[in-house]
């Protein structure tokens, strides 16, 4: 038996037999490629440098997270969700804990919610920093990567001090938080905010008015608000297209209804706007954290929940605003200690689908820029 080979619909097209026009090229980008942010494989059909069509081949990092969930108890599955979007592990954990809490019909105490918000927003900043560094690297600016990594380090230090882990934090538990904040947590966060605010200006100084950066990103990968909705694209990509929609505002969860913040939006829906939106989002996150640190209430950090979690029979869909977009958990309980079915609605997976639409008719270099601007994490795409 022969090995199975992947047949792309791009390869099935009619072969052009004319003499001078026969320069259509099928290029296989990835799964090992410096700019695909992991093991994404994109099959490109090119006319010279122009992209005629793309097809994403994913699944190289598929670990069957949803299947694992069906074989673990609710509490045991909690650390697994960190491994999906590993650059925003806190958000994953937040979404999962809140979904199960909803199913159990319990609510985390206010102090826990505030801690959750602080950590989730710090994680949003970290995620956007990583995005900025790699996106700039893809477009050819190698320096911002090191700047963002230097500053992201400070966030990871706070995570480490809080829960002992830097990347896959497993910071929250169903029903609240496991750990009380450590001595000096608030001081550390404030120190970081004061340190970080001028750094955003530094990033912007490097890129925002840089001629080449603007030329490389303006009108690249344009997607309108309507197309975003049709394609299910959420997060900063949707907001850059002018749709003022953020789950933190639309359907507030955790303690987000307590805070004043704005939803930054763009107008053109191009790569440059998405860059600006994410930069503005970092500033808004700083604003949220400032308020949360100032107003963090005293009290318990864990709700009263039974030792063995047995949610009543039923289904629940809960979604949060992860750094990449709407991260949803659909949990079906059959009354046992294990989820009967757990479905993750990953933002990266759905956003990646827009790639084909966004790069058609543009150049190879734009494919790189668009993959970067979609901010996908393959761990989440493949699960």
């Amino acid at each position: 038996m022969k090995p199975t080979t992947y047949i792309s619909r791009l390869e099935l097209g009619e072969k052009d037999e004319t003499f001078l026009d026969s320069n259509e090229l099928i290029i296989n980008m990835g799964p090992q490629h410096p700019a695909t942010h992991g093991v994404l494989r994109v099959i490109l059909k090119l006319d010279g440098e122009k992209v005629l069509g793309t097809e994403c081949v994913i699944g190289y990092l598929h670990r069957g997270v949803e299947k694992i969930a069906e074989n673990r108890t609710y509490a045991m599955f909690n650390p697994y969700v960190d491994r999906m979007d590993y650059v925003a592990a806190v958000s994953n954990g937040l979404g999962y804990c809140e979904a199960v809490e909803k199913l159990l019909n319990v609510e985390a105490p206010p102090r826990a919610n505030y801690i959750r918000v602080i950590l989730a927003e710090l994680n949003r900043i970290a995620s956007h920093q990583l995005w900025l560094g790699t996106h700039a690297l893809d477009i050819g600016a190698i320096t911002p990567l090191f700047y963002t990594f230097r500053d992201r380090e400070e966030i990871l230090k706070i995570f480490e001090k809080y829960c002992g882990a830097r990347l896959t934090t497993h910071a929250f538990r169903i029903g609240g938080c496991q750990y009380e904040t450590y001595e000096g947590f608030e001081k550390d966060v404030k120190k970081f905010l004061n340190f970080f605010k001028p750094k955003i200006d530094e990033y912007e100084e490097l890129l925002t008015t840089n001629r080449i950066w603007v030329e490389r990103t303006k009108s690249v990968g344009v997607i309108s608000g309507k197309e975003c909705r049709a394609l299910g694209v959420t997060g900063p990509v949707l907001r850059a297209s002018g749709v003022r929609w953020d789950i933190r505002k639309a359907q507030p969860y955790a303690a987000y209804s307590d805070f004043q913040f704005e939803i930054p939006t763009g107008q053109n829906g191009d790569t440059y706007d998405r860059y600006l939106v994410r930069m503005a989002e970092m500033r808004q996150s700083v604003r949220i954290i400032e308020q949360a640190v100032a107003g963090i209430p005293e009290g318990p950090i864990m709700a009263k929940i039974p030792k063995v979690l047995k949610p009543p029979v039923g289904e629940i869909y809960h979604s949060i605003e992860a750094p990449k977009g709407e991260l949803g958990y659909f949990v079906v309980s059959d009354g046992s200690t294990q989820p009967y079915r757990l479905r993750v609605r990953p933002p990266s997976f759905v956003n990646l689908q827009a790639l084909d639409m966004m790069v058609r008719g543009q150049l190879v270099a734009d494919v790189i820029a668009v993959i970067g601007t979609l901010d996908i994490v393959l761990g989440e795409v493949d699960r």
Binding site: M1, K2, P3, T4, T5, Y6, I7, R9, I58, G59, H62, G64, E66, K67, I68, E70, N71, K102, L103, N105, R229, A230, L231, G232, V233, V243, W245, A250, Q251, G314, E315, I316, Y317, S319, E326, G328, F330, V332, Y340, R341, R343, R345, F349, V350, Q353, M357, D382, R383
Partner: protein, 159 residues
């Protein structure tokens, strides 16, 4: 909205209720294309959040297929659920929401439910040529397509 839909489709909607503040319908399979169309065009559910399925092997119609929809103007979510039997297929909703493309492919990949009229119905996360659909309850957690692994990866076992 529920009343309006009830009046229009009558007995097709076997259940319309709320659990923990989330609305859902259970709809007959034959009504699916129509009700989705109505929800999108008349009730402004312009964003298809997710399409997924649940497997209940002991039931006569073992699959729940769900559409989770969201309406931007109404800021409201809704779940549409239908029950289908083994081997039964569903109409694809790609014409309604292009985002359904990959979501339906994933449902096919994981459960083996076919969607008619889908532009490119093939596996998405698992490799082409893999046998079995892992999210079915009868597919064990350590089960794998040994033959595929041996041929394509050249190793005895993937575990």
């Amino acid at each position: 909205m529920v009343a309006k839909l009830n009046g229009r489709f009558g007995s097709g909607i076997s259940e319309a209720s709320t659990y923990l503040g989330q609305n859902y319908f259970v709809v007959d399979r034959s009504l699916i294309p129509e009700i989705l169309q109505v929800l999108r065009d008349q009730e402004q559910f312009d964003y298809c959040v997710d399409i997924t399925a649940v497997h209940y092997p002991k039931r006569q119609k073992p699959f729940d297929v769900l559409w989770i929809l969201y309406s931007f103007p109404r800021n409201e979510r809704i779940r549409v659920k239908t029950l289908i039997a083994e081997g039964e297929s569903l109409p694809s909703s790609v014409p309604l929401w292009p985002t359904a493309n990959w979501l339906e492919r994933e449902v096919y990949d994981m459960f083996g439910i076919l969607f008619e009229g889908h532009p490119d119905m093939k596996r998405i996360l698992l490799p082409e040529g893999w046998k079995g659909h892992p999210l079915r309850k009868d597919y064990g957690i350590i089960q794998q397509d040994k033959e595929w692994v041996q041929i394509n990866l050249g190793i005895e076992s993937g575990q």
